[in-house]
């Protein structure tokens, strides 16, 4: 355990006077990670998303048909009359999504292995940045789902002692991912750090 030296004039733990600690001008900005994922990942995402949209479209159509035809008493008329708008609206939304999201995501998804930290950025409208030190890596998973094999990309997943510290790089070039996974596993094995 670290024992911090006593300090004078420090606030009580937890309930300290906040005026000392207001959110002042100290700011910093993360730069984007250096490397992009493979361009073929766009294909994977597009196909996957198309399949997902198609499946949901079928489900919504079924619900819409049921709403229109069954005319259950507890469903208001206004809803059952306009039910056929549901799949149309979802279809339009889905197509726009398929057209926009994969390339957008490709622009956001980035990764970098720094000196001893893996830095990733993922998402599209919601974004997440993650830092995972190499010396805390516990397992390195290199997975290729069927679609990913078709497009020759892979997903690299790095896990640490904490579930929250797991980092995933989707859509890397398969060979590159394999090299990196070997590399990281080896470095993690040699960089011993028990603090987990």
């Amino acid at each position: 355990m670290l024992n911090s030296p006593a300090h004078d004039g420090r606030p009580e733990p937890g309930e300290g006077p906040r005026e000392h600690l207001t959110e002042e001008g100290r700011t910093a900005e993360l730069r984007p990670p250096l490397r992009r994922v493979s361009g073929r990942a766009v294909g994977v995402w597009t196909v996957r998303m198309l399949l997902g949209v198609a499946l949901k479209l079928v489900l919504i159509s079924v619900v819409a048909v049921m709403l229109t035809n069954l005319s259950l008493s507890w469903i208001p008329d206004r809803l059952s009359e306009n039910a056929r708008l549901l799949p149309i609206a979802y279809g339009v939304y889905g197509l726009v999504k398929v057209a926009v999201v994969p390339s957008w995501r490709y622009r956001v998804h980035r990764w970098e292995v720094g000196e001893d930290v893996i830095y990733t950025r993922a998402g599209w409208i919601a974004r997440s940045w993650q830092l995972v030190p190499v010396n805390r890596i516990q397992t390195v998973d290199h997975t290729q789902a069927m679609l990913e094999r078709v497009f020759d990309v892979a997903t690299l997943r790095v896990q640490t002692a904490s579930f929250a510290g797991s980092s995933t790089i989707e859509g890397m070039d398969a060979d590159e991912a394999r090299v990196l996974s070997e590399e990281l596993a080896a470095r993690a094995a040699t960089l011993r750090d028990d603090a987990t």
Partner: protein, 688 residues
Amino acid sequence: MNPEHESPEPDGRPAPGSPSPAGPEHERSRWARGPAGRSDGRYPYEWQHAAEEPQQPDGGAHPQPSHEWCGTSGESRAFGPSYEQDATRAESWSLPGGGLSPPPRGPQGHPQLYSQGPWQGHAGDVPHGPQAYPHHGTAGGAYTSEEHGPASEPRQWWSEEASQPFAAESGRRLSPRSMVVGPINQLRSILFPILVGLIIGGFNPWLLAATGATVVMVLVGGFVTWRTLRYEITDDHIEIRKGLIRRERRTIPLQRVRGVDVTSSLLHRMLGVSVVRIEAAAGSTDAEDGKLDAVDAAEADRLRGELLRRKAVLTEDGAEPAGTEEGPEATAEPETVTYFEMPRSWYLYGALSLAHLLTPFALLATLIGLLQQSGAQLGAATDTVVGWLDSTDRALLTALAIGVPVVLVLMMPVFAVVSYTVTNWGFTLRGREGSLVAERGLFTRRSVTLEKRRIRGHELQDNPLERTRDAVRLRAIVTGLGEAATRAVLLPTGPRPRVAEAVERALARYEGGLRPHPRAALNRRLIRSVGPFLCTGAAGVLLEWNWLVAASAVLAVLGVPLGIDRYRSLGHGHDEAFVSVRSGSLQREQAVVERSAVIGWSWNQTLFQRRSGLADLQVTVGAGAGGYTAQDASMPGAVAFAADVTPGMVRPFLVERGAGAAASGQGHDRGAGQDSGHDRAPTADEDR
């Protein structure tokens, strides 16, 4: 290409700068075994581009290249070792990229070492070591870090595992009998629904056919698992590959193996096989472990022995320089210190605890459940109850129906105090031999021992009721997620000053405060707590369901104080030793975690958060809940905060800016100066 990118030496070279405990003959044995350098291992990564520059600062220019390989030069550093896959797959590994010349691997500097290495030539031509090492070690390349500034610390990881007198194993399969065990175990879990389906369905041909298909599929699945799963122990990791369509390969460094668990059920024993589970991470989830279901019993024993032996060797080498073995010193003074003994007055605090307040209802539910069960089994009992209900006066029944809940509610505080007392009777917190021992309980005396070196911090929890009396609960944040939730209670609900005192004596006190989050966070908290009910209310209006509108209105109004309180409890801060994060209202939690235990950061930002410049900052900790989130902190502030806490981890990825140039430039130097700086607590006072 930089010579040190290519040369395999980093992991085996007895570098003078690195405190390698291994003797020369160890080095030799490892060298003889490999790893052979991949001289064509062109790394396509960005940080490699320096490698293509003709200027070679290390291998060529410096008279003492070995120092450079230790990374002390500050120009570049080599990482190693890395692993190639099996020789059979090696062709697919060549990476795109220009033909880079093989590095100069002259014997200059280390003739006696080079003369032993089998890798003078091109990696492809290199004969393997005598033990037919199936893995080529790649040099791993050097990760040139120009933008990161000079590095000052020698890297020592290769020296830590410099001597493993083991040969790697080739891929092994599971026992063929696993084709029997696996499907049987799988079928057993779906046996009951299948039987019920068959009996109810009256054995109609469709159901029979579906059942047959299921059985065949499970059997085929068992066969495929056996065919495709391979495991392999190398000298520093175990690799499990599986999958026909979805291929998966799990690599677990032996250093990370926490235990090897061999179990066998009755079925397994009958077939002479065992399940081997390699516990890797602290997590209790299967996803993080390596599971071999099933191997021969003898193979399981061998595997366990082999894994633990190899891990022990790795650990031996790594432990001394890492300085993690605190055990022996701590055991030298086996005296017991009492940090806390619960005063009598504390038992009343039980009335504030929500969990204890709900005990009567939990008891009632259990009672009803019991009655129902026995009633279902014994028709006679039901008859008796029904008969009694019939014969009893209706007025009395009504009185009972109203009276019992009222009494229960009135008795809640009493029950809570009783239940709190039974659980926490005579609570003591002692320190003994480097551990904290918490003892409690009236009937069942429960003693929980937590190793101090596994404690990464503490957590203060309170609910709104407890806040009225300024009472908190104390839990430890311990590595190993398994049973931590129930085991980590350090103090029961009690007054905050006394709890703080106990924290100070038993652990260490958090000196920093908490900085509030921006005003925009208040709006978001309010939207979160009121918004959903406004939506359901609107839906109610649309559907003309008045009860929904009324309920939503009430909940929405209640959501306002909740949202405000949630905002008020948000905060994060740090001091020299700890990071702290607080959130929540009905269950407010303040986590205080050692800075050295921070094993990562993540920032998550939704579209709405981005528009108001907020982000959720998650502190990753390999202990307790795994991550503690500062909700809706300002994004730039959160990045600066993380950079203050762990400069070595965050600073390399920051944008250099003109405005904060003075502070951040200076900080950058400082951060880069201490390379794995998250293990240290820099003097961060000037940051505030």
